[in-house]
Symmetry: C2
Subunit: 568 residues, 2 copies
């Protein structure tokens, strides 16, 4: 996840503040460790926030695990050092940092220079940063700064007793999937393409995070790694979506509306598979409740993109408070990750693609004549045989032609060996698969959704969540708190809970206040029991957004509360 | 989680090894970081294991979040030091440890003494351990040991740059809920009892874990914290379960079968609320697929139990490999946790219980006569007024009776004040709620379930998962791989996936082999498309455990595949 992108930013603090006030007061999001004075970069999901997140993750699984058929795996959050040496995080997941020599306040060096001197800092070296910082004073105490150092953003710990074995908290869930490649390839019965999903915590020890749930030290990712043959970056269902429209901001900075198919044929998106996943991402975000007009896809600039990536697009959502916020990254990571782990671990991470029919090659081989080599070279015979085994095709050809070969100070004549031509059968080809990675920042999606769902009606707060997403789906109310009504209402409440609806019961205050109370947390339906209920077994069902009220038989409630239940 | 309990242990390595072989080969459980030589105490959930876990957690949520109405929250896994100072983990979550001075191997000191000297080590002090270890040599190299030190089992890290702010990875999810008490109490509209749930990772940096998924350094907990009034450890539905039977091993070591109600009335279980949760735990474990006869509840011995706990029971499951394994702990933690955090943070963590009607007390108060005190005591007048404000009821009574009072070397006569009797209105009482905590070790439950589900049929492996729990619910097969059959089979496959069933498609090898392949991973249903399908739109549904085959119309498949779907 990069920085929220501040171009075209629309500031409307009121809306953000209203949403965050509801989130805090009603139990969606709470800054963590409040009773201990807080700890920035950490947030708790309260009862409503956790339910909202669960519903969003269930929809994500429905999109990717059930419908696309990507199995989910779950790997540890703590990993040994080697993993993150291979991935490049130990070396490159760093920020340039300076500390005030007087008060000890730590700053991100490039941000400091950018803010104070108003200059672009992308690509500045440590030396250049040092020179610029010389003239800058600490913004807290006016003190001077020490040298710029690189601060690694991974949380560091030790595995087992002592300090021998360094471990890191994963900065992304992705690496846990790459290193399982051989196991996963076996699970998918050694066929490409296949995809695998992981949902879980990831960690970035930010220097001083100050943007609420947009920049967390501990956050939830949902990532997919799709392993494909380099030459087959297609999708069998691309035809079904190729006419669907995408709002793109390609590298040149223009903004265009274009079909998924045309974006590929005009070389704006690198290939079908990426384009397919842009569409799927858009559909997911819309399904969750982000309005279509607030979604766009921005292509990474060459300078922004990892050097190994072939193409990368961010799904961005327009927010009132933070402008366009990156919520999903969709990258073609090529063979970088598998090759990096292969090289670090020494374990081959490759797929094997059989040819349609075996191929046959003629090649020359050298067969040593031991009856001659043994007696003539004695103790060095073994060494000679080893060297002969290791000869390449070119060396054998030269040996055959020139009549002798030299190595290790030995000259061996052609008559010590026989050189034969044989036929070799090759049944297929080993390759390092490429990886396409859609990576979702769940906390950011939740923030964007809260903002998008918020509206006011007659001066009161309403969160217009879709029924599938709403943390609570039904409120059950007796019109007044009289025993004959509360008994029936409680029975309906228990029945709906038993059927798997997230339901609340409330009998205090006026019915109007109870409606307002659940509107504010986005409950789509209210069921009210009144005196007519006792006569004809009907209740009033009120729909949150239209405020329409319908009279429904208790036995037919299930048909009216069309929610998508949490449990079957 | 304590040690697996080895009393009454039945060793049958074959069964354990067969299950673990399937788990590894088919993709349930993989030892983590294999390509980097492994890292003990860490396991990956492969595609089938992760699905199994997800299904179990969904059932858990259905039991506790939906039916019992406990909301789920989600707090960070990294916490600042203060939290774990308060909880006692910084001081007490330690193992006595020794290191070989020669080879550097680290041992748990008490285990070393127990194993080598064959003696009981519970309750030995560090000094006593040191004396015993003097005579012991390193089991690896024969070297001598250094001094015993206490090793803290929490993973330690730093929050933000530098080493100023120490953080720990949580050793249990519980603390995250205790410190949210005030927020949660507000969310539940300031009424006791209420319950809150959390599912997530927890961490224990074991010295040298060697028991697979039974003892992990990173594991998944599902915990409930139920906050109750100390005098109200009851449950409104206890009557519904009080006749249900429990297999108990109380503190005296006997094993009895007794009803939940009788266990309370005979003072074996401390109170109704604990007994209710023993029943609920048993029902959950059975619902997941652990056979009733493999479940018992063992009461903690006084020496085993935390000093503050009022009563504690472990649900244990009988395994072939590890004997009785603790999978759930159900404890009455009294007011310990809230008081500890209140004291550490300085923030009050109490509930307020209003009386049915306000209570009125008559009490005496002292009103200083400033017109006299001011002129006579001048500069000390302020100090006197402060002291008078702070007088207790007894002191005021004595002052009134004796006619003077002395403090700070001052004697003040009765005539400097007036002493009046007033009426005080008290509307309720502040209390620290007690906490009942059922805590589930999800990884252990999964291991026990794998073992319990395993059986052999005609020399082939079968995992008899319940349909709701099975990672894959349906296999769809064309009888032979001919286009006309595969087309129909693929269509059924897509349709079932679209309806939310976890489905696999397989066309390779004989139909018998395909049945065996899915029996081994516990798929409850197979749907086979054959040439009759093309005539009459029927398919064969085979049920895994009975191997019964039924002919079913494609349109009526949903009624036959009674699974409990993953998504509505």
């Amino acid at each position: 996840m990069g920085q929220p992108n501040n171009h075209n930013q629309v500031i409307n603090l009121g809306r953000h503040e209203k949403v965050m006030e509801i989130a805090l007061r009603r139990g969606f999001l709470w800054p963590s460790y409040e009773i201990y004075g807080g700890s920035s970069g950490f947030y708790d999901y309260g009862p409503l926030g956790a339910a909202l997140r669960k519903n969003i993750l269930d929809i994500w699984r429905e999109f990717y695990c059930v419908r696309e058929g990507f199995f989910e795996i779950s790997s540890p959050t703590i990993g040994p050092e080697e993993v993150y040496i291979a991935s490049g995080h130990v070396k490159s997941f760093v920020d340039p940092t300076v500390e005030c020599k007087k008060c000890g306040e730590v700053y991100r060096a490039d941000h400091l220079v950018r803010e104070v001197l108003g200059m672009e800092t992308d690509g500045l070296t440590t030396d250049e940063l040092n020179r610029h910082i010389e003239g800058i004073k600490c913004q807290k105490c006016g003190g001077g700064f020490g040298e710029v150092w690189t601060y690694n953003l991974m949380f560091r710990t030790h595995i087992g007793p002592g300090e021998k074995k360094v471990g890191y908290l994963r900065p992304e869930t992705a690496q846990g999937m790459f290193i399982l490649f051989n196991r996963l390839y076996g699970f998918y019965r050694k066929k490409l393409p296949f995809g695998v999903a992981q949902i879980g915590r990831a960690y970035r020890n930010e220097i001083s995070p100050r943007q609420g749930v947009i920049r967390l030290r501990e956050f939830t990712q949902a990532e997919l790694e799709i392993f494909v043959s380099p030459g087959e970056k297609t999708h069998k269902d691309f035809g079904k979506v190729s006419g669907d429209s995408l709002r793109l901001v390609p590298r040149d900075g223009s903004e265009i509306e274009i079909s998924a198919g045309e974006a590929v044929s005009r070389d704006i998106i690198a290939h079908e598979l990426l384009s397919y996943h842009l569409i799927l991402t858009k559909n997911f975000l819309e399904c969750v409740g982000i309005p279509r007009e607030k979604i766009r896809f921005r292509q990474h600039l060459k300078t922004e993109m990892a050097h190994y990536a072939a193409d990368c697009w961010d799904a961005e959502v327009c927010t009132d408070r933070f402008g366009w916020v990156e919520v999903v990254g969709i990258a073609d990571r090529t063979d970088y990750d598998l090759k990096a782990h292969e090289s670090q671990s020494g374990v081959e991470l490759k797929s094997f693609t059989p040819f349609d029919s075996p191929k046959f090659y003629r090649k020359k081989i050298v067969v040593p004549d031991m009856a001659k080599i043994g007696p003539d070279f004695k103790g060095r015979a073994g060494q000679i045989v080893e060297r002969l085994k290791g000869l390449g095709e070119d060396e054998i050809a030269a040996f055959d032609e020139e009549g002798y070969i030299e190595f290790d100070g030995i000259r061996l004549d052609r008559n010590y060996v026989s050189i034969k031509e044989v036929e070799e059968k090759v049944t297929g080809e080993k390759i390092t698969p490429h990886v396409i990675e859609p990576s979702f920042g769940i906390d950011r999606i939740i923030y964007c959704l809260l903002e998008a769902a918020y509206n006011e009606r007659d001066g009161r707060n309403v969160l217009s969540f879709k029924p599938r997403v709403a943390p609570i789906q039904v409120g059950v109310f007796p019109l007044v708190a009289k025993d004959e009504l509360t008994a029936v209402a409680r029975k309906i409440y228990s029945k709906l809970r038993g059927e798997g609806y997230y339901t609340v019961y409330d009998e205090s205050d006026s019915i109007g206040r109870r409606y307002s109370r659940i509107d504010e947390i986005g409950v789509p339906f209210a069921v009210t029991v009144d005196f007519d209920t006792l006569k004809d077994d009907t209740v009033t069902v009120r729909e949150r957004d239209s405020t329409n009220q319908t009279r429904v038989k208790i036995g037919e409630l299930k048909d009216k509360l069309t929610i998508g239940k949490m449990f079957p």
